[in-house]
Amino acid sequence: MRKTLRQIVAFGGGGFSMESGNPLLDDYVLGLTDAARPRVCFLPSASGDADHYIVRFYRAFPADRCEASHISLFRREQGPEDPRAHLLEQDLIYVGGGSVVSMLGVWRAHGIDAILRAAWERGVVLCGLSAGSLCWFAEAVTGFHGAPQGVEGLGLLPFSNCVHYEPGSSRRRAYHDLIRAGMRPGYAAEDGVALHFVGTELSRVVASRPAARGYRLDALGERVVEMRIATAYLGDAGTTLLLPLPEAMSTAIAA
């Protein structure tokens, strides 16, 4: 019996795309499916369906762990004939990184946006990094092309999102500026951090790196309030923090 929980796991960066040899985030999302051999479909649209990226996906998700597949929207004559039927029968849909603007354009052209919403509502776990994180939110900060700017996502999660939220990154300043200018409140994640949403509520923040953190951003008048969220390191159960939100938040006020 499939879970009917709607789940999205948004990586600030990480998984097989960025953390070769560190499978913690990929293991985490596989573990959310209750299947012994989960069906996992990779959507590499944001990379333009780059061959080398697809190969790396299959290496990271071998046949003894899961039933892996991918859909190339640039090569529809290959692969599943009916993307809707194929995506709806998955346990996990994994969206790769690249250009979020290009990806959303291609998805709309093939009706993938509506299919992903239907998959989410049926309990298929949705995850991804970078562009594959930004896409699930109502608004997002993309730094892919020149200066970071706001972009509209699929809107499954009614928040804004910023990825690769590294200290000193230009995206950090850009996200603050955008929130100050009226972008809705939301969540940011450093590389190695995954924001796990159940329904539209943030349920847990996990990390593949001990020091990596997730953040919640809100506007308070002219100020932006950035709260660091307690983040559970997945690597060593002995030091894992499993504190419920929001008590676990440590608060920092940014001007």
């Binding site: 944001a46 990379s47 333009g48 529809r76 004939e81 709309r108 892919f144 020149g146």
Partner: protein
């Protein structure tokens, strides 16, 4: 201002005579527009900006008297570019083949459609093959969704276009059906056949390979009619005397340079 379009039914960037003849034609159109050494930019969007397509383009034009460049919308993260400025300073914009549906969707997302329309009005040669040829018309027959089906283009040129005409019988059949069913009249282009528009008059038809044909396809009272058009044969220039090992090295270097993609 003269507008210029070169629509090609299909070709490659190899050193075969037919491919060299096609590149020579592009170079001539671009040089005429430039009045000197031209700038030629490939938009590989329809392929998903594959290294292969970009590498082949550079291997064809890298040694010719022109300044080649590529604008890869999926790779702006590693190679930021001012889209409008870069495109409008070109003499020829070449659009590669792939998915017509994705090509238009990604262009729309990056607001490129309006820039290309402006480039056209400024007399920049708009060239392309396959999806990159159909995109300039109102409609074409695309396999973007797997099977050959009608798809919309930018509509800079009125009418429709079907590429790989006799090379892909299922595509031709879908085109004949679509024109009979109300798709605007247009043209069928075999691989190594092309149509050149320079200004407002009718296009001139060219081929780079014996047996390649250009058809006018129109709906009449008694069904859809295919009329072959007279064509001019494009001679192949002498092959460039480039050592194969050097050419190979350049192809690999170009591919490596453009391998980054992550957001």
């Amino acid at each position: 201002m003269i507008t210029r379009v070169l629509a090609l039914g299909g070709h490659d960037f190899t050193s075969r005579p037919a491919d060299r003849a096609v590149c020579e034609l592009m170079l001539r159109l671009a040089t005429t527009r430039a009045g000197g050494r031209p700038r030629i930019c490939i938009l590989p969007t329809a392929s998903g900006d594959t290294s292969e397509q970009i590498g082949r383009f550079y291997s064809a034009f890298g040694e010719r008297p022109c300044d080649p460049s590529d604008l890869s919308l999926f790779r702006l993260g590693t190679r930021p570019m001012e889209l409008r400025d870069h495109l409008l300073e070109q003499d020829l914009i070449y659009v590669g083949g792939g998915s017509l549906l994705n090509l238009l969707a990604v262009w729309e997302a990056h607001e490129l459609s309006a820039i290309l329309s402006l480039a056209w009005r400024q007399g920049i040669v708009l060239a392309g093959q396959s999806a990159g040829a159909m995109c300039w018309f109102e409609a074409g027959i695309t396999k973007s969704s797997g099977k050959p089906l009608p798809g919309a283009g930018l509509g800079l040129l009125g009418g429709s276009l079907c590429v790989h005409y006799n090379n892909e019988p299922d595509r031709r059949a879908a085109y004949l059906y679509a024109v009979g069913d109300g798709m605007p009249d247009g043209y069928g282009l075999d691989d190594y056949a092309g149509l050149i528009w320079e200004g407002a008059g009718p296009p001139s038809a060219v081929t780079a390979q014996r047996g390649a044909r250009v058809y006018r396809v129109s709906a009449g009272d008694s069904g859809v009619v295919e009329s072959p058009l007279p064509t001019r044969f494009l001679p192949a220039p002498a092959p460039a005397a480039l050592r194969e090992d050097i050419a190979e090295f350049r192809r690999i270097t170009a591919m490596r340079k453009r391998a980054g993609w992550l957001d």
